[in-house]
Each structure stands twice: as structure tokens, then as C-alpha cells.
Amino acid sequence: MSSAATGRSLGLTVCLECRATVRQVHALAHPRCPRCLARLHERKPHSLGITTVLIVSAAVLYVPANLLPVMNTRTFFDDEQDTIMSGVLELLHSGSWPIALLVFIASIVVPLLKILALAVLLYSAWRREPRLRLERTELYRLVEFIGRWSMLDIYAISLLATLVQVQGFANIIVGWGAWAFGAVVVLTMIATRTFDERLLWDGPARG
């Protein structure tokens, strides 16, 4: 496959919005897709740099997202603070382990997996790693697919905090952990978009 014709070698660029094939994009100052008028780039501009910044920010915010309480439950008897993990444990003790597993995967595993996977992809794109390209592309597709599922707990918390406002009985107040968590979700979703997966294939192929 070393002699495979690529869009770049033929002077062709694909519009990532409408999938039209456009000729000789780099000859123009501000190329736009003739069909849908989207901005065209041979590769997404500054992809590695921007994605790195977003991933580092997400990794930093992942710490308070997991350590700070995401919600505060105030009742007659006590004032209970829940982090994401303690919410999972509570679900587990109440006997609904499938739901506990779902929240654990969506809120703890998925964000961590996204950050680590994108870090690995950034590194291999930067090194122009010639091996295991198909596997890396598939990892990227997995990250793209699971990205949105981390919002699950934010929705659950927002519904709980809206419903449980019973005067003199129980109140649920949202915690800053939820804010940090939401930021992690948004940052990793944008990072997935700014990463140009074609960079994984740009170097010379081997093996």
C-alpha cells in the first residue's frame, strides 16, 4: 500500500462537512467548498496543538470532577455530600447494580478513556507512527462514539436537584464537582473534533 494515491498526493481535498471532493485547495488564499461553502483545509489547522491544550485542560479538571461533591443532599437528619463515585456506591448498595455499572462506565471510565486515548493518538500522530494505524483509527472512532455518554450523570443530577426541593423535608443542591465534570465532557468533545484523524495516516507506511 506504500504507493497508494492519497488526496494530498493528487491535490484533492475532501470537504469534511458535505464530503465533496475539491481540487487544488492550497492554491487559494481562503478556500471554501464550492458546494456547501464550508472552509476547506487540507488538514485541520493546528490540530495537534489545539487538541493537546484541550486534553491537558480536561485532564486537570478531571481531578476536581471526581473529588468535589457533585451534589449535596440536605434532609432533617443530616447533610450528605455525594461525589460521582459515592453516587455509584449508593446505587450499588441499593441493589441496582446494572444502573450502578452504567453510571460507573459513563461517568468514570469513559472520560478517563477519552483523555488517555486522545493522548495516545496525539503522540502517535506526532511521531507519525507507521504501525497499527487501523487499530488507532478504530480507537479514535470509539472515542468519537462514546463521547456524549458522559453527560449521563449531569442529566441525572439536574433532574434530582430540580425534583428534590421539598420544603422542610429534603433539598438537593448541585456541587462544583458537577461543573468541573461538565467542563471535562465539553472539552473532550471539542478535542475529539479538533483532532485530525488523517494525521494518523500521513507518515510513510511500514509493516
Partner: protein, 201 residues
């Protein structure tokens, strides 16, 4: 250059064949989908869009979850979830929830109908390209299916403390989720531009 398809995922160039009748044509190198069926009538997409719009209105007009506790009753709607966060001064989080559960699904449906209804009569909507790109952008932030599971998690967590009843809106959210994913799959970018070119020619 219509004779060549460049893979958007790995940049490999392919000779363009006819779009598949079902399934998809994949890139030979990275297996990204290159072509999907393009023969669907535009009326199917319009019907799905109208259906989704009705479901979205029901989902916002009726309570999502009703809770009975200590003789008191509380309920919330779809917008209520975002407003609850806003009331607790988490404005950015409220905006994120509002965007992903109300604004993005709504603008996704409205944009599609705005583009497709004139197209069916052989005309093009004003600002077609811009609206089309807006459509693709809001689609990425439309999280109805995630919201459904989040509501399920909230129901399970509350069921230990209070009597919770799923409302009509929750069922229409579930149908909306199915409707939106069908709508997204029949209106791929390739299909949309195939309709535009058909109606012009």
C-alpha cells in the same frame, strides 16, 4: 472532481462508484464509511421531521417525572431540568443542559424542515449552505438518548425515597430519541446534496 472520493478519515483516494443500495461502501484502508444509500425519497425525511417536532412539543409541554413524597407532589419538565440548575446559580451548566436537550434537538428539526420542504417543491431555501452547516453542527450537540438514560438513573435513585411516576413527556422523549436517530440516518450529508442535485437537474 466527481470521479474520485477521498476518504475523510485517512485521505486515501478511491474511484467513485454508484452509491450502495443498502449498507455502506467502506474505505479499503481504514474502513471508514465512504458512501451510503442515496435513493431515499425526501418525503420520508419530512415525515420524520414533522413527527419529531410533535414529539418534542409534547416532551416539553407535559411533566417528565412526577414525585409524591410526604403528601407533596413535585414534577419537572424537560426545560425544568435546565431551569433547576439555573435557579441554583449554575448558569453554564444550565446552558449546557438546555443546549443539548432542548435547543439542539429543536434547531436540528427546524433546520431540516426549513431545508427540505422547499427542496421537495424544487426550490432551494434561502441560505441553504449556511443552514446545512448549522444543522451538522447542532446535530453533534443533540443528546436526547443520553438524557433518556440520565432520567432513568434519576428515577432509580429517587425510587428508594419517594414514589416516582414517569410522565407522558418521558415516553415521548423515548420516541423522540428513536425518531431523531432515524432522521439523522436518512439525512446524511451525501443524501442531502444528492436531493439538491436531483431537484436542480
Amino acid at each position: 472532481m466527481p470521479g474520485v472520493i477521498v476518504c475523510p478519515a485517512c485521505d486515501l483516494a478511491h474511484r467513485r462508484g454508484a452509491p450502495p443500495l443498502r449498507g455502506r461502501n467502506e474505505c479499503v484502508r481504514c474502513r471508514a464509511p465512504l458512501q451510503r444509500p442515496e435513493g431515499k425519497p425526501v418525503e420520508i425525511a419530512i415525515a420524520l421531521g414533522v413527527c419529531a417536532l410533535v414529539l418534542l412539543i409534547i416532551a416539553n409541554a407535559y411533566p417528565l417525572v412526577v414525585m409524591h413524597v410526604n403528601g407533596a407532589t413535585r414534577d419537572t419538565t424537560l426545560v425544568g431540568a435546565a431551569l433547576g440548575l439555573y435557579d441554583q446559580d449554575y448558569r453554564t451548566l444550565a446552558a449546557l443542559v438546555f443546549l443539548t436537550t432542548v435547543l439542539a434537538p429543536l434547531s436540528q428539526i427546524v433546520a431540516l424542515l426549513y431545508l427540505l420542504i422547499p427542496l421537495r417543491r424544487g426550490r432551494r431555501a434561502r441560505g441553504q449552505s449556511a443552514v446545512f452547516r448549522l444543522l451538522l453542527a447542532v446535530r453533534r450537540w443533540s443528546f436526547m438518548e443520553v438524557f433518556m438514560l440520565g432520567a432513568l438513573v434519576a428515577l432509580v435513585r429517587l425510587s428508594g425515597y419517594a414514589n416516582v411516576v414517569p410522565g407522558i413527556a418521558l415516553w415521548s422523549c423515548a420516541l423522540l430519541m428513536i425518531c431523531l436517530s432515524a432522521l439523522t440516518s436518512v439525512t446524511s450529508p451525501e443524501q442531502f446534496w444528492a436531493w439538491v442535485e436531483q431537484k436542480r437537474g
